[in-house]
């Protein structure tokens, strides 16, 4: 028994290490994932785009304003005069949140030692609001101490200062399924057609059918586009059925029209397919393509911004999100299903997906050898 077992172990081990390209993938992929993850998320959250509404023109608000500008977490991209304007910017997804210093803030603190501020949060960005609250609370606590100290010095007696932060939620009643559901759907729309595409050409190569095909008048365009279209249909069917499941069965919100969701799914499927076809063109066997597909799945989970906010990634690493189709999809689908905007309002990420598909298709065709050697 032991002899036979050791024979199988020995054979498997030899086969595993024989194919250098595969073993490189087997070892390199987990290490690469951890390396990117470590590089990306080992720092603090930075660059969360917010609006700042300054309704108070008293002297104390300037302390707060400078503290907010000094924050590495917040990136103030709009300064407005009123709460309503700030709220509008959050609703339009121009910013991820807004901080409001209300009218009378300075006088209240000076007179009563009590002040209030508002933090407007967009609940559709999973995990991001809690990070924003934490940073806003840190700023307020720092600022309260500073103001208390300066007032005490001015007045000659100890003046406690208490600033209360009120969080105001846009899309605040969202459940996890509302936010994550459409993106999980996106993962399926990305992964399934991509894997089909990734295997398809390399399988023709392994089965020998590519040798026959290459001796016919068939062009690279015929082969690549001919494979793309049926797989894209599969992707759209997956998208629509997943949408039905997550909304009708599990009660997730969908404020968008099915057509908009369909177009968004199609854009994602095309981008994912073009990437899959590229994998298929450059791989030598099915094992390799499966490895790359798995890698894409993990990378999509970690670096597309839907589970872990992109703002938590270091700036130098953020470019990685642009090679992940799911990133664009996430940007678009959140707008459609949760904010209920039309596809025109999220056309930028959708066009990015179509452009992405075009680039990788052209690349696949260019790299696809019309020879077998």
């Amino acid at each position: 028994m032991w002899e036979r077992l050791s024979a199988v172990i020995g054979k498997e081990w030899r086969q595993l290490i024989r194919d250098k390209r595969t073993i490189a993938l087997v070892i390199a992929l987990p290490l690469t994932v951890m390396t990117i993850f470590g590089l990306a998320y080992s720092g603090d959250m930075t660059g969360v785009k917010i609006a700042l509404a300054i309704e108070d023109d008293g002297p104390l608000s300037s302390v707060i304003i400078s503290e907010i500008f000094n924050s590495r977490v917040f990136d103030v991209v709009y300064i407005v005069d009123s709460f309503d304007e700030a709220k509008y910017l959050v609703e339009q997804a121009e910013v991820k949140g807004a901080i409001v210093i209300p009218a009378g803030f300075s006088t209240d603190i000076a007179n009563l030692g009590i002040g209030s501020m508002y933090l407007i949060l967009d609940g559709s960005w999973f995990n991001l609001p809690s990070a924003m609250q934490a940073e806003a609370n840190r700023i307020i606590s720092d600022v309260s101490d500073k103001i208390a100290l300066s007032l005490s010095v001015q007045r000659g007696y100890s003046q406690p200062v208490s600033i209360t932060l009120y969080s105001i939620w846009i899309h605040g009643s969202l459940k996890v399924i509302d936010i994550i559901g459409p993106t999980v759907m996106g993962i399926m729309v990305q992964q399934v057609p991509m894997t089909l595409a990734a295997i398809s050409i390399v399988r023709e190569r392994e089965k020998g059918t590519l040798e026959k095909l290459l001796t016919t008048p068939m062009t690279r365009f015929d082969l690549i586009i001919g494979k793309l279209i049926p797989f894209a249909v599969v992707g759209v069917i997956i998208g629509i059925s997943e949408l039905f499941m997550v909304t009708a069965v599990f009660g997730a919100i969908n404020r968008g029209t099915p057509l908009d969701v369909l177009i968004t799914s199609l854009a994602l499927a095309l981008a994912a397919l073009s990437l899959g076809l590229l994998f298929s063109v450059i791989s030598r066997n099915q094992l390799q393509t499966m490895q790359i597909s798995t890698f894409m799945l993990i990378v999509s989970f970690l670096f597309s911004g839907f589970l872990l906010p992109i703002e938590g990634m270091k700036n130098e690493i953020r470019f990685i999100v642009y090679v992940i189709p799911l990133y664009y999809f996430y940007q678009a689908i959140i707008g459609i299903t949760i904010r209920g905007v039309s596809i025109i309002d999220v056309i930028e990420p959708i066009l990015s997906l179509f452009l992405y598909a075009l680039i990788f298709l052209v690349l696949s065709m260019a790299l696809m050898s019309k020879r077998i050697g």
């Binding site: 020998g208 059918t209 040798e211 001796t215 016919t216 008048p217 015929d222 020879r371 050697g373």
Partner: protein, 323 residues
């Protein structure tokens, strides 16, 4: 321009390995040409270069006068190719495979239907037309591959080891089909490592270590081994035959005394058919009584081994059976 295939100083290297080493070859229009050689001689590499699947390291390839490095797609239209291993879709039926390739070759729909009908008949696949290709036996798969290769009515049919692993009756049937296609005017290039079947070819190119060792009709190839044909003669009487002078004689290969005072010799003659009737006369003139005069059949296998074993001709090995 009269050749269907012309290879000029063709070289293919894979890293340090030279698979094809300066091959020059012309295949005439309307002939069955067998490219014969042991495994690893460079047959498949040569065929794949003709099909444009491999890029030659050096040299030129012309198919029907077309330089394939300049106009491969035009050349492809003239060739029907059957690769060594089954290369159609196992998860499509016989008909679906045929339709698919018909469309790939841009044939009009009515032509496709007509060709499929003819070809299913010709290769005897009609009753299997709705079966998945993957469920066909080895022989039926080959027939389907032929049918697909013939769909676009190519001038040149290239078959890479079409009879490998096929039983003798089916091999015979395939060669019959090749001859029928040749009689229709097609040129056929077949690679094989079976010597016996190349007897059916019009011409044979013997390839070894990537080079052409011999080329000619089957008879010419056999003759090349000994520079002539072999005749075995048994006779009685007279003195010992040590020398023979005749204009048709190449040389006396062997002589031996056998039982009953008989002698046996093996002669190499220039051309068997014309010499055979002259031999009894010559023998009687010399005072011998002929008992047996027979041609020694050199098989292509003998020629093959002799010509590919680096020029070392082992006569004893070849005529061992007759001594």
């Amino acid at each position: 321009m009269s050749y269907m295939v012309e290879l000029i100083n063709l070289v293919k290297k894979f890293g340090n390995i030279v698979a094809v080493n300066g091959l020059n070859l012309e295949i005439n229009k309307g002939e069955i040409f067998a490219l014969l050689g042991p495994n690893g001689a460079g047959k498949t590499t040569t065929v794949r270069m003709i099909m444009g699947l491999l890029k030659p390291t050096r040299g030129k390839i012309f198919v029907d006068g077309i330089d394939i490095s300049k106009n491969l797609s035009e050349a492809k239209k003239r060739i029907g190719y059957v690769p060594q291993f089954f290369s159609l879709y196992e998860d499509l039926t016989v008909l679906e495979n045929l339709y698919f390739f018909g469309k790939i070759y841009d044939l009009p729909k009515n032509v496709i239907n007509e060709r499929i009908r003819e070809l299913l008949e010709a290769v005897n696949l009609r009753e299997h037309k709705d079966k998945l290709a993957g469920n066909l036996s080895g022989g039926l798969k080959r027939r389907l591959s032929f049918a697909v290769a013939l769909l676009h009515d190519p001038k040149l049919l290239i078959l890479d080891e079409p009879t490998a692993g096929i039983d003798p009756p089916l091999r015979r049937a395939f060669w019959k089909m090749f001859k029928a296609l040749r009689n229709e005017g097609k040129t056929i290039l077949v690679t094989t490592h079976y010597m016996d079947e190349t007897e059916h070819a019009d011409r044979i190119g013997l390839i070894s270590r990537g080079q052409l060792v011999a080329i000619g009709t089957p008879t010419e190839i056999k003759r090349k081994v000994f520079d002539g044909d072999l005749i075995r003669i048994v006779f009685r009487g007279g003195k010992i035959l040590t020398e023979l002078n005749a204009p048709w004689l190449v040389r006396l290969l062997r002589r031996e005394n056998t039982a009953n005072g008989e002698q046996e010799v093996v002669l190499i003659v220039k051309e068997l058919a014309s010499v055979l009737p002259k031999i009894p006369i010559v023998l009687k003139k010399l005072g011998f009584e002929p008992i047996l005069i027979e041609p020694v059949s050199v098989t292509l296998e003998d020629a093959f081994i002799a010509l590919t074993s680096g020029g070392e001709i082992n006569v004893g090995e070849i005529i061992r059976g007759y001594w």
